[in-house]
Subunit: 334 residues, 2 copies
Amino acid sequence: MDDSHISLAHGNGGRYMRELISEVFNAHLANPHLDVHADAVPLPVANGEIVFTTDGFTVQPLEFPGGDIGSLAVHGTTNDLAVAGAIPQYLSLNAFIEEGLEIAVLDRVIGSLARAAQEVGVVVAAGDTKVLRRGEGGGLYLATTGVGMRDPKCAMSMGLIREGDSILVSGPIGDHGIAVLLAREEFGLRGDVKSDAASVLTLTQALLKVNGLRFMRDPTRGGLAAVAHEFAQGTGLGVRLDQAAVPVRDQVQAVCEMLGYDPYYLACEGRVVAVVAADHATEALSALQSQPHGSAAAIVGEFDGAPARVRLTTELGGERFLEELEDDPLPRIC
Amino acid sequence: MDDSHISLAHGNGGRYMRELISEVFNAHLANPHLDVHADAVPLPVANGEIVFTTDGFTVQPLEFPGGDIGSLAVHGTTNDLAVAGAIPQYLSLNAFIEEGLEIAVLDRVIGSLARAAQEVGVVVAAGDTKVLRRGEGGGLYLATTGVGMRDPKCAMSMGLIREGDSILVSGPIGDHGIAVLLAREEFGLRGDVKSDAASVLTLTQALLKVNGLRFMRDPTRGGLAAVAHEFAQGTGLGVRLDQAAVPVRDQVQAVCEMLGYDPYYLACEGRVVAVVAADHATEALSALQSQPHGSAAAIVGEFDGAPARVRLTTELGGERFLEELEDDPLPRIC
């Protein structure tokens, strides 16, 4: 790979992206507030704590079963606040619009964004638009920055994770990735897989009441595998996932097998991965399952004393490593 | 003009952009916090007030005399906080990077962004990168969202402006627009005009100490003319600008005359336009001139009882209307 020019692999949530962020962005911007490994960071203000996060969206096509770039921009950013333990309050919106985009499409997408914001209870308080020359954009790119409020006593971090802790996921993985893939129609496949794009706020608020909660994350770019790698790198512990326990829809599995994708690397946009002390894992599972979006939640793995890598226990009892993502399996998925 | 598809004129700071924002964005997103006419809005938090703003950057070329897209992204967003009377505290950064961009260019731009942030005293606390497929981006687009703190007693609004109030500008207009234009080299012209891109924080902090300060704005997209139009529309008063008083560098004027541009419509990225009660205008002028970036500040016009339009008093004593921008004179200038 040419390492002097940007490649698509620099945007995939895997190793090249991590290196780019570390070697260019963090090298210049390092400061005590910026945690390039966190999706949302706390900012001290008088008498409280606000949480701050940002995300860019380039999904193609702009509209897909279960959502569109507008609702995705709200869910993607507010979910980062939610898994940081915050309640989303305010959003800013940047729209980079390509010359020639149908205004009817823009209107549908911004309408959908507004409905999603209202459902989550977040207010779009600042915005900017830029128009890109025809051929210099992909129709529409959005960037949203979110501000949330968090109880300053909320204690969650990867540093709290211990050997033996359990890993839970709030629902089936890979739906978003496969829904967007099928919407592209480039493989001549059809299916009724819908994106899981949705707010995880009720799930995270339910988990925050569970004793022994260590950490939460939403498995977006790079999927469950990328989150598991972050866990291994952030804790120095082994991460073991149990293939039989990880919920994957039959249709998602079937499309993955046909096209050679692995659901563990596909983006989810409405799921939570939670780490909980083992003796509170069933309580956390009940908390998730009591919510409409959490009915298919499962305990899917644990931390152990093995080297800091991610292992998948297969249904036949074997084990394989889930390697860190290098090439991008699905560009412009979020 | 085809009104069912996006055109470059939807991005120029003039009438089409205003209509698009009102008919699509505001139609869906209207709420008590979102003021589509404000560049920065206050957000209540416990015991204080934070100010929130966002901006997208698509300038082409990425590097130009006096700045680059990185320093511009810091100045553009923190200047919106500064003219709202706030002190910038935190920034989020979104980078949309096109496949094939030289990493050395990205490194220079992010390094420049980091230096600008440090000079302004603002911390980049959240970030995200997305890689765009080759041909689906213009090299690099940035979006920055800023959070600042403001004294809740700070009272500035267009609603305070009265007939007779004076209009000041902190320095020569049009430098940024002409510097970027010359950097494109498409006209075969050369010159040593540098962008005025810089922080206006010391200027706005000096103005905040002046009694009779009504309102401040930075004249970016659409230039001084766009700000004057906002003033006329926002107050219902006539706005009279005095051509002889508006500072324009000879080189900027010469390039404008050669190419048919009007400096009043060109973006500045390091200027403040301030409205002050007439009897405090000279005090405000001294406050600006006491700052290194304000040495060429001038009183350039006033509000009067004429119809709510913008008039330019020419050096020969005549008057002409400065119409609202329609076609975009210079796409991708900021």
